[in-house]
């Protein structure tokens, strides 16, 4: 897309940096909420004291912070396991035996994927690099890959780790790596693509959903790109990407009006060179962090900045998080929390324990964000679609479970892969052994703050909202505490739950 001289005036708008007199506790809280999962007042104050540029660097330049997380012990390719299973199935004497083997394998998949969900949520909730995890969550929603089709926990872990390693790197490198990633090769059928029968699934989605958006390529481009991508395959024994020249189509292809004997790497490079590519991915990042579509001027500025930075995310994100636009009043406290943001943010802000993986899994699934199982390749819709009458009531009830240390209202079908499936009953049994932490009032309020109802309400507001509720709501909360003869810690915990049971708590 060349600029047409005279007819189109390209906006030379650049993102303005936030002036230093607007950097304060509220803007620091906004930064931590969006570039992380929020945190207690002390964390916000610390960021605030750093000043804007240092605060942004503290979050974004996470490479300088050691992350001690260790990988799940099964998180490695295991060719022996793959071979043994194949042999066992082949040698199964009866259909019954075969069925049992498959069932055992299915259970192992469920167990590991549950462990993986817990492993990742723990990194988000307690890890030292919240921004990196927030980016991993972005890429997971962007390249929306589901274990429901991939059926391989190692592949899902590996993709998650790929997003972590390339969280803020170069776009072409990430897009290429994501395409060659085993989970993606299965998810969008690229592993099955052959010269004689090119599968167009990945070729289509990489342009429509991952990099350009509808209207920026033709059906012909898809067919030709699918030919270029042939040869990208999966080696089942080593569980690694493999390039197979024998199934690659070696002829000329015409993509975006250019002709050559392209392969998959060439095709990805050609995508990223499209002017639309920078616009597409930067707008999506803006939407994720700012919670709204960028205005045309902001969109142009974002794309220009990204290109000027060589399609590298890190420097671009530094500019984004320092821009005045990011802190404008229609952006601040106007984003619906995703279920993950709601859960992780609550755990961080209340300094309470992350519930066990089974509880998190059931609750997040109820709320509509089943990690490693997005609804489809378009990922989660997000925004106001997180909120329905029932997900809202569930958030209110999950708040009670979280702060009071009880199990949330979960049923067998919240866990079962299929309605009425056997996994549900097993999970319900396991749930009986689960212990929930709850909120420690003495940890989140000083003795002075606990002294009377007004200071309790004010301190909790500060912690949960970093702003004030309206005066009627404050009044309601004070009256609630008034109705208690002595304000016990349990009453204060219920007050926290009530504050979380408001429309205001669902936004950040």
């Amino acid at each position: 897309m060349k600029p047409v001289s005279g007819s189109i005036r390209l906006t030379n708008h650049m993102l303005k940096p936030l002036s230093s007199d607007r950097w304060n506790f509220a803007t620091a809280a906004h930064l931590l909420n969006r570039a992380g999962f929020g945190g207690p007042p002390a964390d916000i104050q610390k960021l605030c004291d750093l000043g804007l540029d240092q605060a942004v660097a503290h979050l974004l330049d996470y490479e300088y912070t050691h992350d001690p997380t260790t990988d799940p012990d099964w998180a490695k390719p295991d060719p022996d396991e793959v071979r043994q299973f194949r042999e066992a199935i082949k040698n199964a004497a009866t259909p019954e035996e075969k069925r049992k083997l498959q069932q055992a394998r299915e259970q192992a998949i469920q167990r590991r994927i549950l462990e993986l969900r817990g492993w990742w949520l723990r990194r988000m909730a307690t890890g030292p690099r919240p921004f990196q995890e927030k980016m991993v969550l972005f890429w997971h929603g962007h390249f929306a890959t589901s274990v429901e089709k991939v059926r391989n926990p190692y592949f899902m872990w590996r993709q998650n780790e790929l997003f972590r390693q390339n969280a803020t790197g170069n776009w072409q490198e990430l897009l290429t790596a994501a395409g060659k990633d085993p989970a993606m090769l299965v998810w969008l059928d690229q592993a099955q693509s052959r010269k004689l029968h090119p599968n167009e699934n990945f070729a289509r989605e990489v342009m429509e959903l991952f990099a350009l958006g509808e209207g920026h390529y033709t059906e012909h481009d898809i067919g030709e790109a699918a030919r270029a991508l042939t040869g990208w395959s999966l080696e089942p024994d080593t569980q690694q990407f493999i390039y197979r020249p024998r199934i690659h189509d070696d002829g000329d292809k015409t993509i975006f009006g250019q002709t050559g004997n392209y392969d998959g790497d060439d095709f990805i490079a050609m995508i990223v060179e499209q002017p639309q590519a920078a616009k597409f991915i930067t707008a999506k990042l803006w939407n994720y962090f700012a919670g709204a579509e960028p205005s045309p001027a902001v969109a142009n500025a974002l794309a220009a900045n990204f290109r000027a930075n060589g399609n590298n995310f890190k420097p671009f994100l530094h500019v984004l998080f320092r821009s005045e636009e990011f802190y404008s009043p229609d952006i601040v406290r106007n984003q619906v929390k995703s279920p993950v943001q709601w859960l992780i943010g609550s755990v961080r802000v209340l300094e309470c324990e992350l519930p066990p993986p089974l509880v998190c899994f059931g609750a997040l699934r109820q709320l509509g964000q089943d990690l490693f199982a997005p609804p489809n390749v378009k990922g989660w819709d997000g925004g106001i679609t997180w909120i329905t009458t029932n997900t809202l009531l569930m958030r209110y009830n999950d708040a009670q479970a979280l702060v009071e240390g009880q199990l949330p209202p979960l049923t067998a079908n919240d866990f079962a892969r299929k309605e009425g499936g056997a996994g549900g009953q097993k999970a319900m049994k396991a749930l009986q052994r689960v212990r929930m932490g709850g909120v420690d009032v003495e940890k989140i309020l000083t003795p002075e703050q606990r002294a009377d109802k007004a200071t309790i309400v004010a301190a909790l507001e500060h912690r949960l909202f970093q702003t004030k509720l309206n005066s009627d709501q404050e009044q309601t909360l004070r009256e609630f505490l008034d109705s208690k003869t002595k304000m016990s810690n349990a009453d204060i915990v219920t007050t926290v739950r009530l504050m979380m049971s408001t429309p205001e708590y669902q936004v950040t």
């Binding site: 989605e205 919670g291 329905t388 009458t389 029932n390 009830n397 299929k418 429309p503």
Partner: protein
Amino acid sequence: MKIEITLQTRREFLRRTVLGSSLAWTVPAFLANTFSALQAEAEGSAIQTPTGKDASILVVLQMAGGNDGINTVVPYANDFYHKARPVIGLKAENVLKLNDQVGLHGAMTGFKSLYDAGQLSVIQGVGYPNPNRSHFRSTEIWQTASDSDRVEKHGWIGRYFDAACAGADPTVGVVIGNQLPESFFAATPKGIVFNNPQNYRFMANGAATEESYKKLNELEMSSPLPDDNSGGSIAMLPAGMPMTGGRAVDFISRTALDAQHSSDEVRAIAARVQNQAEYPGSQLGSSLKMVAKLIGGGLPTRIYYVSQGGYDTHTNQLASQSRLLGDLATSVKAFTDDLKAQGNMGRVLVMTFSEFGRRVSENANGGTDHGAAAPMFVIGHKVKAGLLGQYPSLAPADLFQGDVKYNVDFRSVYAGVLQHWLKTNSAPILGRQFTPLPVV
């Protein structure tokens, strides 16, 4: 209720000033509904908001897992059938004959009596081009009514709500289950989901907590609207109700009121309405039992969604499918009896679907593997009863990779239901014009 009384007395004000489209964003749906009803009344408009008393209702019944259509609507006289299924093929004496070629599975006596009464239509050979054999993907295709090589982010029911039910009560869609099916995904999500009405509520550890929750979530409406004689203007609306744009928190406030309202209503109906038929104790039976109560209680719902799982019959299919189809037919028959006793059967249509049928040839484990086209059932007093469409050929030369070919695109069935039953234009909802199958 306090709020409604307030609004009644401000009808003139509302008619003139508040009924802007942007208001739908900030006012709870049940109030917006009252607004539009008031407006229609005030203007003598012919357009009436459908109420619980008269609108047509669709019940979507998902048979999850991929039901073997060939052993459901059985081509018992077909030699190819018996050749392909020496073990699990059903003999003529075990089917409920519909004509000299096909019959229903022997367990489906409930459906046979509906068929004989002219209330069951069997749509044969329903599918879509380039069928996908993955449960996940094919379910998604049915739920979003997409082409098999396209991914849609919203479902066909969600798009119906977006297109035809703006401002409706959230109970316009009710899912008995645990998760919102993808068919309900929408730009403006609507519909409530619950399994047990007792869980669809704010759970409180005491009356004071519940009272406070209600106050905290009712605040947007607590500031009084301007008086009738104040010459009320937009500028006088309380601060929580902006007329334009709309902050996320306003949308959530509205949903919070809807949640409170519908939760009270659903639980009240569940407690008040009695069923008038005997249902099986199965999950499907209890789901339909609940739907019958909600219909009897007058919930303004247009679409109910229930599901039955377990149709993925790779091994020893005979026993499990027989149990499932028996449950299906008995539950649906009880449901229709219940509605008949209520006097509501005339406005209810039940439509079944499954993500795919199964292979023509049985496998080595007494079961069948994932296939393609299969029949759909539509039940109601006004259906075009009998066998619709053509039974797909089972001749090996006519199969595609071992599967029967579809004769009816499922979106033609959706189009028929949308146009002829829900009385709405189907093209914008289904993405293009499909010839509506005349199901009613």
